[in-house]
């Protein structure tokens, strides 16, 4: 789960990572009140989960109240690359002397957290990595040992931070690691990490990705999910416990098992089609889950044909067939379905479908033939 900038800053603050003071606001009135409270100049920042907010005009400095009002009006409701701004963060303007970069990444390949520090902050770090890899100091941490003071010193000296801020930058990294471990993050990124003209060090931005699988231990983080920013179909699927990702094509897809569903999308694409979604009905799906999955798939108006690709292991093909038959009874879909059932109880499943004789449901014996057929039917 990705957090908004201000949610990330609030999470940082819980672990004593220094951040500028600020308030969130969802209306112009709230934003102006927050600006009055914080004092001028202040910065009004669009809260959306996408980069390039500044370039899109989503981050503005207000030197007085009328400016704060103008900016809040302009930014709230603005569209930034497909993301509508529902919320702004109003924070005290900072006097920047230097911009650094710090991050902690859950490094899957090394199976250790990777801490990175650079004095070239405020720009795209992937560009820095390409242009001047030596400009980024990197250090893997043994998660059983944790982040030690010497780790912080090594990174600070190696990155070449100004001598007078080695200690506070190191302290910030230590607290950032505390947050990473305690909140079970997959990514914490601070870009820029600033040094002010008073030589204070603080996180001016916050990019936080949390591990979805650990949210049961962090109800306060789980509550941060912004459902209004979520795609309606994805929300509907999540509420029903289905794994669904919306895509931009017209072939609705349902399968069992993440790998097989990914493979199904690829095979449909190779057959010249465009998948409308990824939907993993999961292992051992019961008829009811299948019926709900059909509802989710068809709630996307772009869908003009649906492919069921099932290879039953724990999943029983007769349960899938029952779910599909029930879905037809409840929703009466007006698009064609192509169904491929293989594996556990496949004969029973196919027999049930033949008996039900559903309108516009076509069965195919192989995954490839099913993909070709659905692409043809989707048009």
């Amino acid at each position: 789960m990705d957090l908004l900038e201000y949610q990330g800053k609030q999470l940082f603050a819980r672990h004593a990572v220094p951040v500028p003071s600020g308030s969130p606001a969802t209306t112009v009135e709230e934003a102006v009140a927050a600006a009055d409270e914080i004092g001028y100049p202040c910065v009004i920042k669009a809260q959306v989960q996408i980069g390039g907010r500044g370039k899109a005009g989503g981050i503005k400095v207000a030197k007085d109240r009328p400016e704060a009002e103008d900016h809040a009006k302009a930014i709230l409701g603005m569209d930034i690359r497909g993301h509508t701004v529902h919320e702004v963060w109003v924070e005290a303007a900072s006097d920047i002397a230097a911009e650094y970069y710090a991050s902690i990444v859950f490094d899957r390949s090394a199976k250790r957290p990777l801490v990175m520090l650079s004095t070239q902050g405020g720009m795209d770090i992937e560009e820095v990595a390409e242009r001047d890899p030596a400009a980024i100091a990197r250090l893997h941490v043994d998660p059983l040992l944790g982040f030690q003071d010497f780790h912080a010193r090594r990174l600070a000296f190696e990155a070449g931070v100004d001598a007078d801020v080695v200690r506070p930058v190191g302290a910030l990294l230590t607290r950032l690691y505390d947050a990473f471990a305690a909140e079970e993050a997959m990514l914490l990124e601070v870009n820029p990490l600033i040094v002010t003209s008073e030589r204070e060090v603080m996180a001016l931005d916050a990019k936080v990705t949390l591990d979805d699988s650990s949210l049961f231990r962090h109800p306060e983080n789980a509550a941060l999910r912004k459902t209004e920013a979520e795609d309606p179909q994805e929300r509907m699927a999540r509420e029903r416990g289905l794994t669904y990702v919306k895509l931009d094509g017209n072939v609705g897809i349902l399968g069992n098992g993440a790998g097989l569903v990914m493979s199904t999308l690829d095979v449909v694409a190779q057959a010249g089609g465009r998948p409308a979604n990824f939907l993993d009905a999961g292992g051992g799906s019961k008829a009811e889950a299948i019926t709900q999955a059909v509802e989710v798939i068809l709630s996307n108006e772009n869908v003009s044909a649906v492919l069921f690709n099932i290879f039953g292991g724990i999943t029983r093909c007769d349960e899938v067939a029952r779910g599909l038959i029930e879905a037809f009874r409840q929703i009466e879909p007006d698009v064609p379905f192509v169904v491929r059932l293989d594996g556990t109880n496949d004969k029973e499943g196919r027999a049930l479908l033949a008996e039900a004789d559903l309108p516009n449901v076509h069965t195919e014996a192989t995954m490839l033939d099913a993909a070709r057929r659905v692409v043809e039917l989707a048009g």
Binding site: A181, D211, T243, S263, F278, T344
Partner: protein, 294 residues
């Protein structure tokens, strides 16, 4: 031979008294796997259809000589159960549980790495099947027969799909290993490829990867330097958009890293043939097997 599980396997199941745990334990026993015990804290002294249940792994190992553990407990208890199995001296831990927190997996991985006598397969995997010998996990064994193709995969159902296409062309399997779809698998492609390379029964290896991480790229490097047996690969997720988790916690393209195209390229650059569909994987395998026979 076969690898990891076989006639020497003595299985102890953590979570044996749960609904799913009981169902799959009995399935495994019906297949012929020696299931010697189970662990459920507080239910020591009971039995599941004659399989004795213990309160701790230590008791189960001492009383029944278990050498393999299968983990079937819910995510919040799974890391603890894996660590307990290792502490009790179990040599192979197969973790089926999906949804274990990533930081738990990190801790477990780094702890187990200090013990050369233990191997973890999974979590979030379908288990390991050596046809005709032993089945540890949830792989539907009826679709597979004994043979010479080793299969290693990050996905369960995709393994069944590919295995079925191979079976239709007359191939059986030495062992099928599901390494799981999580960000921190206990065993990597590389680990399992090394075992297949050393296994007399395995003549051909099929690996099924997917988007996310760099395990396939690392496998490509390893194959080039260490594997003399033919390897056919498949990668799922060419159509996956960046930044979206595709069902498996580990299946995510982060920025430009972890794409299917990059993995295919890395494997092909090292001489590994990559099938574009599960069907094509089976076709390539058949072609290679044909040339081996000649």
């Amino acid at each position: 031979m076969s690898i990891l599980v076989g006639t020497d396997t003595r299985l102890c199941v953590s979570g044996i008294t749960g609904r799913e745990g009981t169902f799959h334990t009995l399935n495994n026993r019906n297949y012929g796997t020696k299931v010697v015990s189970g662990v459920t804290p507080g239910k020591g002294g009971q039995d599941v259809e004659g399989i004795p249940v213990f309160n701790t792994f230590h008791d189960a190992v001492a009383e029944t000589g278990a050498n393999t553990a299968m983990i079937f407990v819910p995510p919040r208890f799974a890391a603890d159960s894996i660590l307990e199995a290792e502490d009790a001296g179990i040599a192979l831990v197969v973790a089926i549980t999906e949804g274990i927190p990533a930081h738990d997996e990190l801790r477990v991985y780094n702890h187990l790495a200090r013990n050369p006598d233990v191997r973890l397969v999974g979590p979030n995997c379908p288990g390991i099947l050596s046809p005709g010998k032993a089945n540890v996990g949830i792989i539907p064994a009826a679709f597979f027969s004994e043979g010479n193709v080793g299969v290693v995969s990050r996905s369960g159902t995709l393994t069944y799909q590919i295995g079925n296409e191979l079976a239709q062309r007359g191939f059986g399997n030495s062992t099928i290993v599901g390494i799981g779809g999580d960000p921190v698998p206990g065993s990597s492609f590389t680990d399992i490829l090394a075992l297949f390379q050393d296994d007399d029964e395995t003549e051909l290896i099929v690996m099924a990867g997917e988007i996310g991480g760099s395990a396939e790229e690392e496998a490509a490097e390893f194959i080039a330097g260490n594997v003399t047996k033919p390897v056919v690969a498949y990668i799922a997720g060419f159509t996956a958009p960046p930044g979206k988790t595709m069902g498996h916690a580990g299946a995510i393209v982060s920025g430009s890293a972890g794409t299917a195209a990059a993995k295919q390229e890395a494997l092909e650059a090292r001489g590994v043939r990559v099938g574009r569909t599960p069907t094509e994987v089976a076709e390539i395998a058949a072609e290679i097997a044909g040339s081996l026979a000649r």
